[in-house]
Symmetry: C2
Subunit: 465 residues, 2 copies
């Protein structure tokens, strides 16, 4: 076999120990909060039948699915004609499976397949990688993890409030304080399109105003004009985009816009949206928090692209860091409809782990103490010391101290370099004198000092670290 | 879009909350022991370039690789002729990537690509799924997890001893006591082939005796004859297969066979194998354990199929359960050679999570207390009670108690059924009387009894559970 320079596919990554320890800190923090709120874990297969995936993410999404070549002789079912008709025609003949594109569709599939065994409302979380054949670029990968939590089978707006509380708790654990949880409601956006006289144009309206932060008001209004919104509709949109106010003022503004106090309201859907939002805020105050304390910001221009949202929508941005939203979600009324199960309303959200990683790194918020893996390493001066040290490392581990014995009696420098590279905070030195006196030098690698202690004293000291 | 009955690919599985909680218990136990012994986590991409995977698992393995269709127009690089030449010819043209088949090859690739940054000896563990297009059958899946730990970059036999200690500790945590860690050494097997006059036939010899447990001695000897081993060699094999004895007797038997005390030994490699094994046992006694205490069983007929082992080999079987080996591994001298990095000796092993799951289930060893996810649920009698309960669930969570509030004021029976189905051990009932008295009924779901307590008393009680 020829020797090769190995490489990994573009857009994918190895996560070595340094990165893994940090990533696990993020995963474990999120997982512990999900579980504290009563969410249970689910894992679905990496491969799904393409019949499950195709058509769920739009045409562009279908193109971005990674497809698995059928096992065995996949050419059996295809002819020259199939081949000539091009890859779009040929693909479903030679590939029946694809890689998971997100966690939402597999979740919906799971709910439908297990509807008789599930205790509804079903609160599940799912932390798994997904794959997209996107063009790789900075911060965009072909394999990345999603961390989703969803509740399906209830309309209760308590769930929306609990999502806000979970974000608050996760970010608190990360010592992240300066962020905004933007919240809006799709019914309010529907209400606005109705109030500006563009009923039924909600989808185009959302796509346009979703870009407000990026392209500014003028360009958003231009896009609306190009999409065929009337001059009157565009004129009426302007004050909506320009509006600034606190929660009460915003609600008053929208009530006015929707004619909530008139006998012929302009949008009953919009009014319903306001009521839903107010109920979420009621639950939050029952939790003992004002929106400001929770960094919740009611933003009537928050739209989110995905068409399946029907109620509340969320998006979280960390301030003072040049990174997009780190979390988002919303309520959907018919997630499982495409698989034949209607009427399961749900609400869910997702943490973007890669972005949270970048944020914690940029703000220097990774806690040092969580990133130590091995706590102490024993240096052996010679083979006899090595055998003696086996008994010591056993005692350390019995005391639940993460510890290792350098496996060979190499030169001291080599052993110390290893401990340094591996970021091990303490080293125990064992040679013939130490074996005789039963007192071992414990060296603090950061401070450089060392003291002579018995193994019990060392265990006592390290257990308190 | 037509509504479809969704399904998952054959040989794959969903893991719902019940199973996930048990699986996470297994993963977390193994992970905690790996880390206690100084192993650090690694994750590699799900997709590898086929150039990395192909040729590493034999012809059969190559057929079992799941291949990913190239993105975009994969037909561009292929012609009718390519198509006519069949799928084996066509595959490398239209698929450049495949799914990870095991964790060993990606690990070797990682070591080679990162050799300048790694602190050797490199102790890594890796817990990730792998994929094989095997025919699905009971206990054999197309997607399953492997849990590997390896040390590369040292010849020290301390590593072999530590593997035994890790298996001992993991199984101890699982309360699994009746198992055997079978150990042997490839050099001893080489020695046997040399001693029976079949030098260089080690590979065929290992494949044959690997089946001893399944097909019995006669059929193994027949297979050797069919493979062209001489009658003399087969006759000399017989006493080896029949040999029974304790550790000292076995070593004495092999020393005799290899002519260790003669001036012209029949196998110096075999003698080296004995020495290595003795050193592993020395390290184990330095740990304070006899082989019997550790369930270590020196088995000179243990062969293991994989050709890359060169030193110690292990296999673990649980007794009184009809399940194959649950763990195995060994030392290899040139894992990274195929990627151009020679001379990195290593030793590693793997836990079979699916089989360990089946063993723990068969022996009823899953601990009840670890499988509770939500500890307490609050029932709300009406919406007002729900708002009040929001403050209670907040307090419970502040005390780190996993808790949830049933999100709607549904009928009591529906709420209780949910708690039952989800296996929640305690329920708190909140209605208008409870709001007034600030005392809440805490119901023990298993025992059926309930008591009236303040929220602080409830927290106190549940924290002690």
């Amino acid at each position: 076999m020829a020797k090769q320079k190995p490489s990994i596919p573009k857009g994918t990554r190895d996560f070595g120990p340094d990165k893994m320890v940090r990533r696990n800190y993020i995963f474990n923090t999120i997982r512990s909060v999900f579980e504290k709120f009563g969410f249970l874990p689910l894992e679905t297969p990496t491969m799904e039948n393409l019949s499950v995936l195709t058509g769920k993410y739009g045409d562009e999404g279908d193109q971005l699915l990674f497809k698995i070549l059928n096992s065995g002789d996949f050419t059996e079912d295809a002819t020259h004609q199939d081949f000539d008709k091009g890859h779009k025609h040929l693909t479903p003949i030679i590939a029946k499976k694809g890689l998971r594109y997100d966690l939402t569709v597999p979740f919906a599939r799971y709910v439908v397949m297990n509807r008789n065994d599930i205790a509804f409302p079903f609160k599940r979380y799912q932390i798994q990688p997904v794959w997209r054949a996107d063009k790789p670029q900075k911060g965009r990968y072909r394999e990345f993890y999603q961390c989703d939590a969803d509740v399906v089978g209830t309309n209760s707006l308590l769930c929306e409030a609990e999502i806000v509380m979970m974000i608050n708790e996760v970010f608190g654990k990360f010592k992240l304080n300066d962020y905004d949880i933007k919240i809006n409601n799709r019914k309010i956006l529907t209400g606005i399109t109705e109030a500006i006289g563009a009923e039924g144009r909600e989808s185009d309206f959302c796509v346009a105003i979703d870009k407000l932060d990026k392209i500014g008001q003028e360009k958003v209004l231009n896009e609306l004009r190009q999409k065929g919104f009337s001059d009157e509709a565009v004129d009426k949109t302007k004050p909506v985009l320009e509006f600034k106010g606190n929660l009460e003022e915003t609600i008053a503004f929208l009530k006015e816009l929707f004619g909530a106090n008139s006998e012929t309201p302009t949008s009953s859907t919009g009014i319903k949206g306001i009521e839903e939002l107010e109920e979420v805020f009621n639950y939050l105050s029952a939790y003992g928090h004002s929106p400001e304390e929770l960094n919740v910001d009611f933003d009537i221009t928050l739209a989110r692209g995905l068409s399946y949202y029907t109620g509340a929508i969320f998006e979280v941005k960390v301030n003072n860091v040049e990174i997009g939203s780190v979390s988002g979600g919303g309520r959907y009324d018919n997630l499982t409809g495409v698989f034949g199960l209607d009427g399961t309303s749900g609400v869910g959200f997702s943490f973007g782990v890669d972005r949270i990683y970048d944020v914690l790194e940029a703000l220097d918020l990774f806690p040092v103490e969580n990133l130590v893996s091995t706590q102490v390493m024993i240096v052996q001066f010679d083979k006899q010391a090595g055998l003696h040290a086996v008994g010591l490392v056993k005692k350390l581990r019995e005391a639940e101290i993460k510890s290792e014995l350098y496996p060979e009696a190499n030169k001291l420098k080599k052993q110390m370099t290893y401990a340094n590279k591996k970021n091990i905070p303490f080293v125990i030195l064992v040679g013939s004198n130490e074996i005789e006196s039963q007192r071992y030098a414990l060296k603090n690698m950061a401070e450089g000092n060392q003291e002579e202690l018995t193994i019990d004293e060392i265990i006592d000291k390290l257990s308190k670290q």
